[in-house]
Amino acid sequence: MSEPVSTFQNPAGTWSQAVYDVLKAQNVRLVPFVPDGGHRGLIEHCQADPDMRAVTLTTEEEGVALAAGAWVGGVRSVLLMQSSGVGNCINMLSLLKTCQMPLVTLVTMRGEWGEFNPWQVPMGQATPDVLRAMGVLVQRVDDPELLPGEVDAALRLAYSTYSPVAVLLSQKLLGAKKFGGSK
């Protein structure tokens, strides 16, 4: 289980249980991810569930192809990534658009509200535009209380309309990452 971490977002996973419950209720059985501090609690819930398969990826685009193959075989996935990973997925998303395959991805945002790291800004700011350009429907969430309902709606939207849907978990929702040290 968890090893101590210093200052990453969402250490207590306040919304993680409720989002996990939504994934269970919607029969999501495969959870590919590139980890992010904001997803930590949800990842651990999924890893602890013997009826779910959490798959660590080397790059986020693997998860797009994995989820596509799994859905053709009858299994629903939710892909977890950070906003920087959206850029790694761009061409692979053509698979979903062309084949009209559903997918929900939960994207923890960086490069916006309270960001510390300038290198996160370009991809974070481009994330919604990049997703929309590749045919992904975008739902942004700022309030953790609303997140489980938003994820439930995203799953219904995706699987009812054969659409990829991204839920953006804003940095305001997650809490901005803080770094110690000076200079």
């Binding site: 994995l66 989820a67 996935s77 084949c99 009209q100």
Partner: protein, 197 residues
């Protein structure tokens, strides 16, 4: 340097003899045309794009359909674009997934430029280093029947590199409508109700 005389379509045809319920995914380009020259089945999913994603698509299908053997046929260029997938497959350890790289050491669709396998990059060794317990490099026709048996048998993930000749094969196109490919395979695997979900 590739001195193989194996012809890619003859290899694929042999490997798919009496294929039964074997599910076949291909990468884009030559392996898709190869499959189309042999088969047009609901159990086929030839990709037309998504370069670097064939093995991962196969992994998803294998995890969702654990009772059916799944074989991914792809080229050396496509596999090189998604090398990380080999580590993800090895650590995920499906019991029904094989990847066959038809390796002509060229980007065959774009003017036959060398891929890195022409310079000696060994995809079977990469797979072994990632944790694949079953890997093989096939250069002789006499090794094809044993590989065919292994593709159907299941077990830990298998990666086979088949060194093939650079050949000019007719471009035989599979259906290009991805929604058709998707619905056809879903109906075959999940029953007609899958279309109404």
């Amino acid at each position: 340097m590739n001195v193989s005389r194996l012809e890619r379509r003859a290899v694929m045809a042999q490997l798919l003899e009496e294929r039964g319920g074997l599910l076949v995914v291909t990468g884009l380009g030559a392996t898709a045309w190869d499959l189309a020259s042999l088969s047009d089945s609901p159990h086929d999913f030839p990709l037309w794009g998504a370069m670097g994603g064939a093995a991962m698509f196969g992994l998803g299908l294998a995890l969702a359909q654990p009772d059916r053997p799944v074989v991914v046929f792809t080229g050396d260029g496509e596999m090189l674009m998604g090398l990380g997938a080999l580590s993800t497959i090895a650590t995920t350890r499906p019991s029904n997934l094989s990847v066959v790289v038809l390796d002509n050491e060229r980007y065959g669709e774009t003017g036959s430029q060398h891929t890195h396998t022409a310079a000696g990059v060994d995809l079977a060794a990469v797979a072994r280093a990632c944790g694949f317990e079953r890997t093989t490099t096939v250069r002789e026709e006499s090794d094809i029947p044993a590989l065919r048996v292994n593709l159907h048998a299941g077990g830990n993930p298998l990666l086979a590199v088949v060194k093939v000749a650079l050949t000019a094969d007719p471009m035989t196109l599979p259906p290009r409508d991805g929604t058709y490919l998707k619905n056809r395979m879903r109906a075959a695997l999940l029953g007609p109700r899958a279309i109404y979900e």
